[in-house]
């Protein structure tokens, strides 16, 4: 991320910000175009989890932390992510 942002000549946090915005727009477009279905739901969920991890690592600064405090946001995304994914998986006959 750091090298890429240097390459683009912007701050790393600005790069993350642009990524977050584009992921959100993607999610919105999926909804707007009236897509639905398991695959798309899971993709949207996965995008959301990635966004969450970006916020955790870069905005909240956990990416620079050693030890257990590196992981709370990841775990928080992972467990509900699995549960939500499972519930949606089961809702498609």
């Amino acid at each position: 991320m750091k090298r890429l942002s240097e390459l683009l000549g912007i701050r790393p946090c600005t790069l993350i910000y642009l990524l977050l915005i584009s992921f959100s727009l993607t999610t919105f477009l999926v909804a707007k175009m009236g897509f639905s279905g398991l695959g798309l739901s899971l993709m949207v969920l996965f995008l959301a989890l990635i966004k969450g991890q970006l916020v955790g690592s870069y905005f909240m600064g956990l990416g620079r932390v050693r030890g257990i405090w590196r992981w709370p946001v990841f775990i928080w995304l992972f467990i509900p992510g699995i549960l939500i994914g499972m519930a949606f998986y089961l809702s498609y006959p």
């Binding site: 916020v55 870069y58 499972m86 089961l90």
Partner: protein
């Protein structure tokens, strides 16, 4: 997804440890709420799919962008204080607060719209979850803005510096948490079907 190994600096996250304990507790409540939503939907798939379409996704998108932008501004505020630029730090914080305000306004319009249609917590299970989840989050946005306002005032009074800015980092972490929750809430309640 992980940062450069050479910049691993600390055993503790930025800000006060107490705010992190609080953040974790809050996140846990939301996690339970999300899982409850997903599994309840399992029993009422048609109902959830039908009423999800009545939500205003444009408004939700604006709010998502508002919160992400706001979070970004807060990151910039923390960077500013780290180079002792107090004036800029305050400006970024004020910008972040105004984005929070935008969120509140848009969300209030949504609520007014639902209210005018006679929708309330007892209308059906979907609306119960939608209103509960978003309102609980709404309260957190207000709380986060109060915290941001408090640190902005302190920063303007020169309470923070390059050496001592734990207060700003604590408030920033809380605000990012508010953003983080919305990043899951938005696709879950408005989009996934």
């Amino acid at each position: 997804m992980t940062a450069d190994r050479s910049v691993l600096q600390s055993n503790y996250p930025p800000g006060d440890l107490a705010i992190w304990i609080f953040i974790l507790a809050e996140l846990t409540v939301f996690a339970v709420f999300f899982a409850a939503y997903a599994f309840t939907r399992l029993q009422h798939v048609e109902l959830f799919n039908e009423y999800q379409l009545t939500l205003d996704r444009e408004a939700a998108l604006i709010n998502t962008l508002a919160l992400i932008t706001s979070s970004y501004f807060v990151v910039r505020a923390v960077s500013a204080i780290k180079v002792d630029d107090r004036r800029r730090c305050v400006h970024w914080l004020l910008a972040a607060i105004s984005m929070g305000l935008l969120f509140l306004i848009v969300k209030t319009f949504e609520y007014v719209h639902h209210y005018s249609e006679g929708i309330n917590l007892s209308s059906n299970t979907f609306y119960m979850f939608y209103l509960s989840l978003t309102f609980f989050h709404f309260m957190h946005v207000i709380m986060g803005m109060v915290i941001l306002a408090a640190i902005a005032v302190m920063a303007a009074r020169g309470k923070y510096s390059r050496q001592e800015h734990t207060g700003i980092e604590s408030g920033a972490s809380y605000w990012h948490m508010v953003d983080l929750v919305w990043l899951i809430l938005f696709p879950l309640v408005y989009v996934m079907r």
